[in-house]
C-alpha cells in the first residue's frame, strides 16, 4: 500500500515504514524477551543465566499446573461447541427472520461484548450463588460451583462473539441462492444444509476459534464462576505471580502464547477465505474483549 500511495524513496514512505516497524517492535519486543527468558537458567527474570529447558520440565512435573491446564482445555472445548451452535442459531434468527422484539434482542446480544469483565464476573457470581440457593430450597438439589458453572459463564459471553462473526458472513451472502434452492423444491432444512451452511462455514469456524481463544484466556469471569477443583491455567498463573515472576511463568506463558497464536492464525485464515471485511471487525472486537 505504501509503495502505491507515496512516491518511492520519498520521505513520507520512509517515515511510514519506519513508524510501522516501530509499532511492531513495540508489540513484539516484549514477547521476544518473554520467550528468550523462558530458557534462562536464573530464577530472576531479566538476568540471563545460560540456556536451560528446566523451566519446561518443571511445568511438566507441576501437578497443579497440569490439572489446571486440563480444566482449561475441557472448559474451552465444551463452551466453544455449545456457544457455536447457539451463536449460529441466534445469527440466523436475526439475519433471516423478522420477529417481535428483534431490535431489543439484537442490542442485548452485544451487551456481553461491551460490558467490563468485572461486571460480568460479579453478575455470574451472584447468579450462581443465588441459583444454587434457590435450587436447594425448591428442589432440594445439592449443587456446587465448579467446572459446569465456568463453562456456562464462558458460553454466555462466547455466544455474542460467535453470532457477531457469523452474522457478518450471513449479511454478505447472496440471499437469492437460498430462494433459488427453495424454488427448486428444497425444503428449509435442505436449503440450509446444502446452500447456507457451506457458505457461512468460514464464519462459523472463525467464531469457534475466537470462542476457544477467549475461553482459554479468561481470568476474571472464570475466577468468580469457579468452585472447588476447577482452577483454570490463567487463574493459577495469576496466583503464581504473587510469589514473584520466575522463568516458570515465562515457560507457561510461551505455551499459552503458542496455542493462542495458532488459534488466531487459523481464525484469521478461515475468516479471510472469501472476504477481508469480517477479519478486521473481528480483530477489533477480540482486542477489546481480552483487554489488550
Amino acid at each position: 500500500m505504501i509503495g502505491r500511495t507515496a512516491r518511492p524513496g520519498s520521505v513520507t514512505a520512509w517515515a511510514l515504514s519506519g513508524t510501522a516497524w516501530l509499532v511492531y517492535a513495540f508489540f513484539y519486543a516484549p514477547i521476544v524477551l518473554l520467550v528468550l527468558f523462558s530458557f534462562s537458567d536464573d530464577r530472576n527474570v531479566g538476568r540471563w543465566g545460560g540456556f536451560t529447558l528446566s523451566w519446561y520440565e518443571q511445568f511438566i512435573d507441576h501437578s497443579q499446573l497440569q490439572n489446571s491446564l486440563w480444566v482449561s482445555i475441557r472448559v474451552a472445548l465444551l463452551s466453544t461447541v455449545i456457544s457455536v451452535v447457539l451463536g449460529t442459531l441466534a445469527a440466523l434468527a436475526l439475519e433471516r427472520f423478522r420477529f417481535r422484539g428483534q431490535r431489543v434482542f439484537d442490542a442485548l446480544l452485544y451487551l456481553p461484548i461491551i460490558i467490563p469483565d468485572v461486571t460480568m464476573a460479579v453478575m455470574m457470581l451472584l447468579f450462581f450463588s443465588e441459583g444454587i440457593r434457590i435450587a436447594e430450597l425448591l428442589f432440594g438439589l445439592d449443587l456446587t460451583k465448579g467446572f459446569t458453572t465456568i463453562t456456562i459463564s464462558h458460553i454466555a459471553f462466547n455466544i455474542s462473539f460467535v453470532s457477531v462473526v457469523v452474522r457478518a458472513r450471513l449479511s454478505g451472502m447472496n440471499e437469492q441462492l437460498e430462494e433459488a434452492a427453495l424454488d427448486l423444491y428444497a425444503n428449509r432444512w435442505r436449503s440450509f444444509r446444502y446452500v447456507t451452511l457451506p457458505q457461512i462455514a468460514p464464519g462459523i469456524a472463525g467464531g469457534a476459534l475466537l470462542a476457544l481463544t477467549l475461553s482459554l484466556d479468561d481470568v476474571v469471569v472464570t475466577q468468580f464462576a469457579s468452585g472447588p477443583g476447577s482452577t483454570t491455567l490463567p487463574v493459577f498463573v495469576f496466583g503464581m505471580i504473587r510469589r514473584g515472576v520466575t522463568p516458570l511463568i515465562n515457560a507457561v506463558s510461551v505455551i499459552m502464547l503458542a496455542a493462542s497464536i495458532v488459534l488466531v492464525i487459523l481464525s484469521l485464515a478461515t475468516q479471510r477465505l472469501r472476504t477481508g471485511e469480517t477479519g478486521r471487525t473481528l480483530g477489533a472486537r477480540m482486542r477489546r474483549r481480552s483487554g489488550r
Binding site: N44, L125, S129, T144, Q223, P228
Partner: protein, 368 residues
C-alpha cells in the same frame, strides 16, 4: 500477603454490589460447629494462595483421613472475599490475611471455630495472641507470617549502621547512598515506615501525622532510585541498590539465590514495622466444617507445621514447629537481630475504611 490499592478499590465496588444479595440472606446462628478432634464430615476443599502448601502435605492429609482434598488458588484477598461472601462457594477452608479477617468477621462470612476440636492451637506462639483483627482468636488461626523492613548490602554499607529507619529517612546518613535506595511502591507500607520513624502508629487516622509522613517520603524522593515492590529484592542483589525496603520472605529467598547470602542483612528497624499474618478460617457455609477443623489441627502439629514452612519458606507462627525447620530458615526466623525492637514494635496494617483514600492521595503527592 500484601494488598494493593487497586485491589482494595475493586473490593469496595464488589462488596457494595454484593450488599443487596447479602441482605436477603438467611440468619446464621453464632454457634461453632459441633465437631470432635480428628472428625471428618466429608472431603476438604481448600481455597489458598498459589504455591502456599506442599502438594505432598495435601496428599498426606487426604490419605491419613481417607478423604479427597482439592486446592484452588486466588491472587488477592479482594478476589477471594466476594466469592466467599456471596455464599455457596463450596470451599471449606480459606487463608485470608490479617485485615481481611476483620472484614470477613464483620460481614459474617466466616464461622466461629470450635477450639475444642483444635487442641494443637496450644502450639501457636504467644506472639500471636491478642491480635487486633481477631482478639480472642475465635474465628481465625495464624497460618504463616512475615514482616516488612530493610535489606542492606553490607559489601557497600558495611555492618556498622543504625538498625533504624534513619538510614533511609535521615539525610545525614542516607544522602551518602543517594540513588542506591529503593522504597516500596505501596502507600500503606512506605508511609507506614515514615510514620514508624516519626514514632506514630502506621494505622494512624490523624491527618497531621500523615502530613508529616508525607513530607518525609517527599524529601526522601531525591535519593530514592526506585519506588518498586516487585523487584526490590532483585535490585539489591544485582547491585543496583544498596538499601532496599521490602518483604522478609522475598528478601530471604532472594539472599539464598546469591553466591554469598551472608553478604546481605534483613531487619525490621528498631522503631518498628509491618507484620502481616495469613490465617486459616472456615467460610460461614462450608460444606464440611469438621474436616476443616481437623485440617487446622493437623497443620498446627509440630511436624506438619515445619513441613509447611520448609516448602513455602515463610515464617511459622507454630512454636512447636521451629525445631523441624531447615537450618537456614530457622537461623533467619529465630534470629533476634531481625526484629531488634521486639514483636511489640510490629503492627499489622488495618483497614482504615474511609481514611484509606488519604493514604493513597498522600503517597501520590509524595512520590510526585
Amino acid at each position: 500477603m500484601r494488598p494493593t490499592p487497586m485491589r482494595r478499590l475493586l473490593a469496595v465496588l464488589v462488596a457494595m454490589t454484593l450488599l443487596a444479595a447479602a441482605c436477603a440472606g438467611e440468619e446464621e446462628s453464632a454457634v461453632a460447629a459441633d465437631c470432635e478432634v480428628g472428625q471428618t464430615d466429608g472431603d476438604l476443599n481448600l481455597y489458598n494462595w498459589a504455591e502456599y502448601i506442599d502438594p505432598d502435605l495435601v496428599d498426606a492429609f487426604a490419605a491419613e483421613h481417607g478423604i479427597e482434598m482439592t486446592v484452588d488458588v486466588y491472587d488477592s484477598n479482594e478476589a477471594m472475599q466476594p466469592i466467599i461472601s456471596a455464599g455457596n462457594s463450596g470451599y471449606d477452608l480459606i487463608v485470608p490475611s490479617d485485615y481481611m479477617v476483620a472484614i470477613l468477621i464483620a460481614g459474617e462470612d466466616i464461622q466461629l471455630l470450635n477450639k475444642d476440636a483444635i487442641p494443637n492451637i496450644a502450639n501457636i506462639s504467644a506472639d500471636f495472641s491478642d491480635l487486633v483483627y481477631d482478639p480472642a482468636g475465635d474465628y481465625s488461626v495464624p497460618y504463616q507470617w512475615g514482616t516488612t523492613g530493610l535489606a542492606v548490602d553490607t559489601a557497600v554499607v558495611g555492618t556498622d549502621f543504625p538498625r533504624s529507619w534513619s538510614i533511609v529517612f535521615d539525610p545525614s546518613f542516607a544522602d551518602q547512598y543517594a540513588g542506591r535506595i529503593s522504597l516500596l511502591n505501596d502507600p500503606r507500607e512506605t508511609l507506614g515506615a515514615a510514620l514508624k520513624y516519626l514514632g506514630y502508629s502506621l494505622n494512624t487516622t490523624d491527618t497531621g501525622e500523615l502530613e508529616e509522613a508525607k513530607e518525609l517520603v517527599s524529601e526522601a524522593r531525591g535519593r530514592v532510585a526506585a519506588f518498586d515492590t516487585d523487584q526490590a529484592d532483585e535490585l539489591l542483589t544485582t547491585g543496583e541498590t544498596a538499601i532496599a525496603h521490602g518483604y522478609s520472605g522475598d528478601m530471604f529467598t532472594q539472599f539464598l539465590e546469591t553466591d554469598d547470602p551472608s553478604r546481605y542483612v534483613y531487619f525490621v528497624p528498631e522503631e518498628g514495622g509491618t507484620r502481616w499474618i495469613d490465617n486459616m478460617a472456615i467460610p460461614h457455609d462450608a460444606p464440611n466444617p469438621c474436616t476443616a477443623h481437623t485440617f487446622i489441627n493437623w497443620i498446627l502439629d509440630a511436624e506438619n507445621g515445619a513441613a509447611l514452612s520448609n516448602y513455602n519458606y515463610y515464617s511459622t507462627p507454630n512454636a512447636a514447629a521451629l525445631d523441624g525447620l531447615e537450618q537456614e530458615l530457622l537461623d533467619f526466623v529465630a534470629d533476634p537481630a531481625v526484629i531488634p525492637g521486639g514483636v511489640g514494635s510490629l503492627e499489622e496494617i488495618q483497614d482504615t475504611g474511609d481514611f484509606e483514600i488519604n493514604y493513597t492521595d498522600a503517597f501520590i503527592e509524595a512520590v510526585g
